[in-house]
Symmetry: D2
Subunit: 105 residues, 4 copies
């Protein structure tokens, strides 16, 4: 099953600066070879459900076992659809196209 | 890896009334035999990461393949911790205990 | 505008045990007088959008100003509908009703 | 109170294609004049809490009153911090910097 997902991983109990930890888990997501998009509030990723879920598990495990993080919270969006195949990055493009159309009306 | 998760599944393209669909996928989560807690905005579930993720996949597949849902969005929280084992239902209890303590101070 | 919302507040940079902080902000939500439901992954609340958003702001401010929390993350779901009025606590009931119906079919 | 937020608005009951609706509410967020970043799973926005919450209310109202959407679900992340001022778009940059550093180690 192909999905478009968003993953936001929050390490808890390691202080206030999270970016080193976020970088480390973002690398795991990139290493899947899937399409990823890093933004200000998380990482978007498109591909096979099982591959993404296995990568996310690795992220939690790495934070716990290699980076001494006692607690990890992940916030995730998962979208699947059967009506059409859509590239993740085309979603924002389609929205922008509609915005242009609305302005010109 | 044991997790405490929250799953909110939103079927898209089947109209405005979602409860029949939500019931159907909540049953799949209950059928895992794991501890589940249905509330006004989702289902909490505690147990093994792989078991929960396999159940969630089944939810999407059932909505697509058996209930004609063209599009499914899931919102999920996933919490894991190594500092202690905690029963999901004790979380709200601990919060309430602190509330009582605050009131009596 | 009436909404049914879910609020999960995560204080960052104060260590691994969050329940004292969660209790404190849950009290602010209860003090609105609105219907609230505390569960294992957050607080559900039903009522006027402006009242809820003002209460949430107070939660962030209390954590920052009175409880020395350097960073606060909130995860929120907001639902509004015009097709019917529905009590928050009836949502889970309706889902359970559908589950009973499915079992008896 | 300044926040970095992510807003994902899901119109329910208007069919399976959401981009026209998403474009319409994204325009409301852009019209605040605040910094916004549209991505595959939502809109990031940085600025004053009250301004953002007022804009989000307008989004729900527009969908209900002008675009015949019976039901609207919003998923939101809200981050505030007192330890430093950070530009929203620098968050991804800092993460990337840490990734480069990790690779060279």
């Amino acid at each position: 099953m192909d999905i478009i997902a968003e993953i936001t991983i929050v390490p808890i109990g390691i202080g206030v600066s999270l970016s080193k930890y976020v970088a480390s888990v973002h690398s795991i997501l990139e290493d899947t070879g899937l399409k990823v998009e890093l933004h200000s509030n998380g990482t978007n990723i498109q591909g096979d459900y099982d591959v993404i879920m296995a990568a996310l598990k690795k992220c939690h495990e790495k934070l716990h076992n290699e980076m001494d993080t006692p607690r990890v919270l992940t916030y995730m969006k998962i979208g699947s659809r059967t009506d059409k195949n859509k590239d993740m990055l085309d979603k924002a493009k389609t929205v922008r196209m509609h915005m242009e159309k609305n302005k010109s009306e």
